[in-house]
């Protein structure tokens, strides 16, 4: 289910940019944990069960690898725990390793969610007006890729029937696949030139042509956008005034537990968990309507 994905592309873009800015560039442990947990919950809602299992198998080892190797690179910190090859392994370095693992895995999962939500049509819609020629090239490329893939399979089958790919040696494979690729290139170049002629004939680039889109800005979008921008303003004020300052070296600083800092944590936490909440709400509504039928 993609309830969050039904919002307007501009709303989604503002949302992802604000979350990613904090997730990537702020080193406060609380904010990082909030971002990671928001990302995990959101991606669980977006993905199938089999995908989730695969992701767990990828992200947990990655997390451990980053966390464990950090003390080997950095010997800063004032609390040595033990010595390894004459170099101190400090408590601070271990904690910092865990913190950067939280950050990296969090950012990667956020980008995964971004990829799931921001499909190419939304991307093109957003940038189409600002960069018309580039987005034309992009949208043509998005169309050509599946077209060429299909053509590639056709050429491949035909070549196989003619006796290519018969031996198992690497050079032979490289040679046969590159000759198939060559056939592809000449076909696609010639074919695409027809496309450009037909575009010209239909008046591409003339004044007054409009493009069709399905996206409309609803009142829900305005609400979400306003909420997102205002919560982000609160978060950034907190960051700018040093409320969320946090450092690991030479010793780990105390977490700021003042009420104003807690407001910042709540503000960013709300942003981080927003997509999850929207997805859950939609899923519940769906279940409820089904049970009524």
């Amino acid at each position: 289910m993609k309830a969050f994905g039904n919002y307007h592309p501009a709303t989604l873009m503002i949302y992802f940019i604000s979350v990613l800015l904090v997730a990537m560039f702020v080193s406060n442990l609380v904010l990082q944990l909030l971002s990671l947990s928001g990302a995990i919950l959101f991606s669980v809602m977006l993905q199938k069960r089999s995908e989730i299992l695969g992701n767990i198998g990828f992200y947990i080892p990655l997390f451990l690898l980053i966390a464990i190797t950090n003390p080997l690179f950095s010997h800063n910190g004032v609390t040595p725990l033990f010595f390894l090859n004459g170099n101190p392994v400090t408590f601070e370095a271990i904690i910092y390793g865990i913190a950067i693992a939280v950050m990296i895995v969090g950012v990667m999962i956020w980008f995964k969610c971004y990829g799931e939500i921001m499909s190419s049509d939304k991307f093109l819609y957003l940038f189409g007006k600002a960069i018309p020629k580039l987005s034309l090239v992009l949208s043509m490329a998005f169309r050509f890729i599946p077209l060429f893939k299909r053509q590639l399979q056709k050429v491949n089958k035909a070549q196989k029937a003619l006796g290519l790919y018969s031996s198992k040696s690497f050079m032979d494979k490289l040679r046969s696949s590159s000759s198939v690729f060559m056939a592809m290139i000449s076909w696609s170049l010639e074919n695409s030139m027809d496309t450009s002629d037909s575009m010209k004939a239909r008046g591409y680039g003339l004044k007054g042509r409009t493009t069709f889109t399905l996206f409309r800005l609803y009142s829900d979008d305005i609400v979400l956008m306003t909420l997102c921008v205002s919560l982000m303003a609160i978060t950034f004020t907190g960051i700018a005034t040093g409320l969320t300052d946090f450092h690991y070296y030479p010793y780990i600083s105390n977490l700021n537990r003042s009420p104003s800092a807690i407001i910042i944590y709540i503000a960013f936490g709300t942003i981080s968990f927003l997509p999850f909440v929207i997805e859950v709400k939609e899923a519940l509504a769906w279940k409820y309507y089904i049970s009524k039928i």
């Binding site: 990296i104 490329a141 890729i145």
Partner: protein, 224 residues
């Protein structure tokens, strides 16, 4: 006058973005600067491309080369690092100039990441592949004439691509340039660096002649 004003405004916005980011993200300011510079460095190329009165045929041709390089990246997924993307970008640049080269490189990075996953690495891949294409166009004459120069260019772009990625990841993780982590990353990814360089050379030598023939033909047939 209006143009100059607009230019000044753009510069001002860029400076404001970079400096406010530096103030906000004190611990990660190097990562912030490098990623903003990577994004912003692409902007002039894109604007130039928008402004120039390019023929539709050229736009379609760039789209074709981008799709071919994305497909080649998909075909070669089983062999990590062993990809003809750089070779295709350089060949496009050799025959159609720096601008087409930059566009093919940068757009291949964006589009192929729709299939492989976007990430903080996207702006860097865009910039590096774009620049590989750009300089491929600048040195087009030498690359066309000498196979040795072509191979050297392939090796160089493999090394640049790999080490740029390593530098970025160190800056992001540590917030500063941690030499020991950089060296470890370089050693850990040296295998990829070698694969990049070797595959670039193989594909450039293998493809430059035949694809060049096609592109030359297209050039004369459709008067590009």
């Amino acid at each position: 006058m209006k143009k100059r004003l607009l230019f000044g405004l753009v510069i001002l916005i860029i400076l404001v973005v970079i400096f406010s980011g530096m103030m906000l993200f004190k611990d990660k300011q190097y990562a912030w600067i490098s990623i903003s510079v990577a994004v912003l460095a692409c902007v002039p190329f894109f604007l130039q491309f928008e402004k120039r009165n390019n023929d539709i045929k050229k736009l379609v041709l760039i789209a074709v080369m981008v799709s071919l390089s994305v497909i080649s990246r998909i075909i070669f997924t089983p062999l990590p690092g062993f990809k003809p993307v750089t070779a295709l970008v350089v060949i496009t640049a050799m025959y159609f100039g720096s601008e087409a080269g930059f566009m093919t490189g940068a757009l291949s990075a964006v589009i192929s990441n729709f299939y492989f996953g976007q990430g903080p690495w996207t702006p860097f891949q865009m910039l590096i592949w774009g620049l590989i294409g750009f300089f491929g166009g600048v040195f087009a004459k030498r690359l066309l004439e000498s196979k040795f120069d072509l191979a050297m260019y392939g090796v160089l772009s493999g090394i640049v691509f790999s080490s740029a990625m390593d530098t970025w990841s160190v800056l992001w993780v540590d917030g500063s340039f941690n030499v020991s982590r950089f060296l470890t990353t370089v050693i850990a990814s040296s295998q990829f660096m070698i694969i990049y360089a070797v595959s670039n050379v193989i594909f450039l030598l293998l493809f430059s002649k035949p694809i060049g023939k096609f592109l030359d033909r297209i050039k004369t047939k459709f008067q590009l």
